[in-house]
């Protein structure tokens, strides 16, 4: 038997699961050798620039390309009329709707794509854009979704007039997209009718944008001789893009190669298929030259993939002790001009019905109506699983409001309603099967860490002095890892994910994945999983993603699905290899496979010290000495279809002070405890949590895609769209518990989005808590100084003394 010290040393050498090893990605990034889409430099590349609508809603009377085409260096100007013969002027969306690639007779949102200028370089292309003359007849713009279903509301989608269906069920109005209902309406209404206490609150998750630091873009290169299309693209889901491009272009998937190189952040912005991509591809096919399209930041904030815009009304029924008896939710969802939100096809409101949260709620009912407005399409999950941020926001605000009404402490009311550890697996009123959790333990740990009781005492004192101090609590449950193919698909493709591992003769390995990192360090994390499963050092395990010609088909990275789905595929693929290795080891040691024990990096013959074969030795043998009848080589592929989602959870507490003269909020303390099950690389997990909390801070305190009454954007540059600097960003305190997922091969759950999903309600609960003693129940996000001051001023708290 190996000594513990000796085996521990061998284990450490692997730098596998649980090790905070440094990232394998970093050396290229810190030396300026990353390879992002705009860095791709193919010979003879042309540049595409988009002509966009200044109007939110208008009819196009004419487009005159002559002046632009006359500009030296301009190769082509494409409009909807040029795409019509190819049937590419409209494209299908992930939500069963269609979206104009280039505006067809009318524009339905400001900055909508009207024409594309292809020129020698980005300078000439920009000049060309100014020379394209478009004559518009402005139409009244519909900006307020609450007016979308009015009798006299302007009709946005004339192409759908007369159609009572737009891909997601029955439409009740020309601007209506779908109605989605889930739960027991009658049962819920009954409980409300007889409830001791009820609370009702309207609240808004305003329209925001993921705003990754790298904008969207692509380089499309069509080889006329070979008939191959290669597309370098900023996509979180390259395989899906290839499928969509094939459907659109008619080219066989085998002739299309989609490559996601290094990506400068995604956060949901890079899931969709955008008109810019399509037009660059068409231009390349038509002109037979590589065509590059790169968004400006203003275009990015104005057109590609907004998030949220959920106008919610929540209601809770409870008894006098604050035990929740029922939840009722009505949502008006503003989807913009085209329904191109990125959700699993069968889920028009994503996974919003997880809105019963961490609480044992007997009965619930949710209704969501989606409507069109004259705003950009999108509706992506901004660093969250589909619509889960909205769901968690709703329940975490509502339980605070209930506590306020009953004058019960906001932590206490949570303990009274938590699903108890012994209730797992727990089936929710809205039909989700929570895999595992221990909510009370998490909240207790956080309360002790921050001295919750002491904070409440301090708040008492401050309130006497007229000072505003807020304590926010959020005890969220996330649902990630989409998803079981019986429930989830994208355009009919099940949401499995994949891993292919090849172990080389000398004991190094390459793994190829169907997911796509946008900064989450997959090259490191997956290598660590394989290291532990195969007993080979993570250092010599190469992980590749994003090239559809080499990687197995996968659905990509979003909704924190990489570890829950891709990570499970990796573990299972590695285990297939280990099973074969066991047979080879048995052959080499001339024993039966059952006589072998696996230990860290080798198989040992039970009870016979020294009789062992390391994985390195087995790898060599796999290419020259395998049992009779066994094929050579050491590799495996796994397509993993998860049996269920995973349900990470956490307990957060935020403490902030508000300046009653300016409305400024200063976050004094933010303590975040996350439970994502088994932790693969704690350093990377902590980094993900820092980032998620920072994006949560941005959303809660400042981010807003704002419009004026005519649909003009008011915050579409980094001057007005809030991205915090190091100075504003609070200092984060992190903590964890570990409650493994029972159905995941490693017990891992996924983590990157929890801090965003749980962070936003925690901040907004803190701001609202600062005013709750004054009877305020809801201050809407974003909590800018201006917005907070309005409440202060109405209450007269800013009076000079």
């Amino acid at each position: 038997m190996a000594t513990t010290a000796e085996s521990m040393e061998r284990e450490q050498k692997l730098e596998g699961i649980g090790c905070s090893r440094k990232r394998k990605e970093d050396p290229r990034f810190i030396q300026g050798k990353g390879n992002y889409v705009d860095d791709v430099n193919l010979a003879g590349t042309l540049f595409a620039s988009v002509v966009r609508s200044p109007h939110a809603h208008a009819r196009i009377k004419s487009i005159n390309k002559a002046k632009a085409l006359a500009l030296p260096g301009v190769h082509a100007v494409l409009t909807a009329d040029d795409l019509k013969p190819l049937k590419l002027h409209w494209m299908p969306t992930l939500a069963g709707d269609v979206q104009a690639v280039l505006a067809d007779e009318k524009v339905c949102f400001q900055y909508q794509e009207v024409a594309v200028v292809i020129a020698d370089n980005r300078y000439i292309a920009a000049d060309g854009v100014d020379l394209v003359e478009v004559e518009y007849e402005p139409l009244p713009a519909l900006v307020d979704p609450h007016k979308a279903m009015d009798a006299d509301a302007p009709i946005i989608r004339e192409d759908l007039v007369g159609k009572d269906e737009a891909g997601q069920g029955k439409r009740l109005h020309n601007n209506h997209i779908f109605r989605w209902e889930v739960g027991d309406k009658a049962g819920t209404d009954k409980v409300f009718a007889g409830a001791e206490v009820t609370v009702k609150q309207a609240m808004l998750n305003p329209r925001v944008h993921p705003c990754p630091l790298e904008t969207c873009g692509c380089v499309a290169s069509f080889d006329k001789v070979r008939g191959d299309l290669t597309v370098y693209i900023t996509s979180q889901a390259p395989h899906v893009v290839r499928t969509v491009v094939s459907i659109l272009s008619g080219l066989p998937e085998s002739k299309i190669r989609v490559i996601s190189p290094d990506i400068g952040g995604g956060f949901g912005n890079k899931v969709g298929v955008y008109p810019g991509y399509v037009t660059a591809i068409v231009a390349s096919i038509v002109l037979g030259r590589p065509v590059k399209w790169i968004e400006s930041r203003i275009e990015n904030l104005s057109t590609t993939a907004f998030a949220r815009d959920y106008h919610m009304v929540g209601e809770l029924a409870a008894d006098k002790n604050g035990r929740i008896k029922a939840l009722r939710v009505n949502v008006l969802a503003d989807h913009g001009a085209f329904n191109s939100h990125a959700q699993p096809t069968k889920w028009p409101a994503g996974l919003f019905s997880v809105c019963t949260g961490s609480y044992d709620i007997p009965v619930a009912y949710v209704k969501v109506d989606g409507v069109y407005t004259n705003k950009a399409p999108g509706g992506v999950a901004y660093r969250c699983s589909f619509r889960v941020t909205e769901a968690v926001h709703l329940i975490e605000r509502m339980i605070d409001i209930l506590a306020q009404k009953l004058d019960i402490d906001k932590a206490e009311i949570r303990f009274r309603n938590f699903i108890k550890p012994e209730q797992f697996p727990y089936h929710t009123a809205l039909d989700w099967e929570y895999d595992s959790g221990n909510y009370p333990a998490a909240l207790k740990k956080v309360m002790e860490a921050v001295d919750y009781a002491g904070l409440r005492k301090e708040q008492e004192e401050k309130r006497k002095k007229g000072e505003l101090m807020g304590i926010g609590i959020c005890t969220f449950t996330e649902i990630v890892g989409a998803g079981p193919s019986k429930a989830c698909d994208i355009l009919g493709v099940g949401m499995f994910d994949s891993c292919e591992i090849r172990v080389h003769p000398t004991g190094s390995a390459i793994a190829r994945m169907g997911t796509q990192s946008t900064g989450q360090a997959h090259e490191t994390t997956y290598a660590q999983i394989i290291a532990t499963e195969l007993g080979l050092p993570s250092e010599v395990i190469q992980v590749e993603e994003g090239d559809t010609s080499t990687a197995p088909y996968g659905l990509g990275t979003y909704g924190s699905r990489s570890t829950p789905v891709g990570g499970a595929a990796t573990a299972n693929a590695a285990r297939k290899i280990r099973d074969k290795a066991r047979k080879i080891a048995a052959h080499l040691l001339e024993v039966s496979p059952d006589d072998l024990d696996w230990e860290i990096d080798r198989f040992k013959v039970k009870g016979v010290p020294g009789q062992e074969k390391t994985m390195k030795e087995i790898a060599w043998a796999a290419y020259n000495n395998v049992p009779a009848g066994m094929e050579m080589g050491l590799e495996a592929v796994e397509y993993y279809d998860p049996p269920n989602f995973t349900y990470p959870f956490g307990a957060y507490i935020c403490v902030l002070d508000i300046d009653r003269h300016t409305g400024e909020s200063k976050v004094r303390r933010f303590y975040a405890l996350d439970d994502c099950g088994t932790r693969i690389n704690p350093m990377i997990i902590e980094g993900q949590i820092h980032g998620g909390l920072t994006e949560a801070y941005a959303v809660a305190m400042g981010q807003l895609i704002a419009f004026d009454a005519n649909g003009n954007l008011l915050s579409n540059s980094l001057m007005d769209y809030f991205v915090p600097t190091a100075v504003e960003t609070p200092k984060w305190e992190t903590d964890f518990t570990v409650t493994p997922s029972p159905h995941h091969p490693l017990g891992a759950k996924g983590v990157a989005e929890s801090p965003h999903v749980g962070g936003i309600p925690c901040f907004t609960n803190a701001v609202n808590d600062a005013f709750s003693h004054l009877g305020v129940t809801q201050i809407e996000m974003p909590h800018t100084s201006f917005n907070v001051w309005k409440t202060i001023h109405e209450l007269g708290l800013d009076k000079q003394v």
């Binding site: 300016t662 400042g702 201006f786």
Partner: protein
């Protein structure tokens, strides 16, 4: 985000620059730090046919003391103002304000002259200049003329500077020893323009306020001098009640434009709050309380 085409000129002397300016006329624009002009050109709001880059005119840089006043070359950068020992000692209001402008990289390019001549009420130096009772040296084909900061700012992007003139130097009378000063600025985040900001320069005579100047940033189409507020405080021993009255007088002259920073009501109240804070801070720095 690509600027239109233009011709580029990089003169080595002010005379050369003025000659260019006169000969090229309306289609020429002066390039100082470029962080206001270049973004406008990238958005194609500004499309000058000629850019005259002042960055290669060394004479336009530098900070010196002459007689009772500080002379600052118009092309002196914000970071040079911040780093200047002379200013920190004799005229600390400037470095205090400069530190609150934009971010470190931009402050390496942004110049005091550009900030003033641009005529944007959101810029910070105009109010600081008003509070400092600065004098600007404008040079044109006909030679130099001196213009007081008070009276230089006419309207939105519209100043006393003629089309063929260049702002070459800023002259600031050195406040007497023991003067108080403060620049209080409220902004949404680091690097942002002011939601509201107030510059105060103050002298005490014992307990009484011998002299005070108060100026407001981004509260109207131009930076504003709050003269009534000044008059109210001059010759009195300052207390909270008086400071409050002064703030009210300052608020009364505000005419801000609504934007994402807030509506008029908020901005006017914030101008009042920044005025309170600046007066209090200046007072304590002057040894009052």
């Amino acid at each position: 985000m690509i600027p239109g085409t233009f011709d580029y000129h990089a003169p080595n002397s002010v005379d050369e620059a003025i000659k260019l300016l006169s000969s090229l006329g309306d289609e020429a624009k002066l390039l100082a730090g470029g962080h206001s002009l270049l973004p406008m050109m990238k958005m194609r709001f500004a499309n000058p046919q000629h850019l005259i880059d002042l960055n290669r005119i060394d004479k336009l840089r530098g900070i010196s003391e002459q007689g009772g006043s500080i002379h600052i070359g118009a092309m002196t950068t914000e970071n040079e103002l911040i780093a200047s020992k002379l200013l920190q000692e004799k005229c600390p209001l400037l470095p205090e304000a400069a530190r609150l402008i934009s971010d470190p990289q931009v402050r390496n390019c942004g110049t005091i002259g550009g900030d003033i001549a641009h005529g944007d009420p959101g810029n910070d130096h105009p109010a600081v200049m008003l509070a400092s009772e600065a004098v600007f040296v404008l040079q044109g084909p006909g030679g130099e003329r001196m213009v007081a900061a008070d009276g230089f700012f006419h309207g939105l992007y519209y100043t006393e500077l003629a089309a063929d003139e260049i702002l070459t130097e800023i002259r600031i009378p050195i406040p007497p020893k023991g003067s108080g000063y403060a620049y209080s600025k409220l902004k949404r985040k680091t690097g942002d323009f002011a939601t509201a900001a107030t510059a105060v320069q103050l002298q005490l005579d014992g307990k009484t306020c011998k002299k005070i100047t108060i100026a407001l940033t981004n509260a109207a189409p131009t930076a504003l001098r709050a003269k009534e507020a000044e008059a109210l405080l001059t010759g009195k021993s300052l207390d909270e009640a008086l400071i409050e009255q002064a703030a009210q007088k300052a608020m009364a002259i505000c005419d801000p434009a609504e934007d994402m920073r807030g509506d008029r009501d908020y901005k006017i109240h914030m101008a009042g709050e920044m005025t309170r804070r600046a007066i209090r801070l200046a007072l304590s720095r002057a040894g009052g309380n």
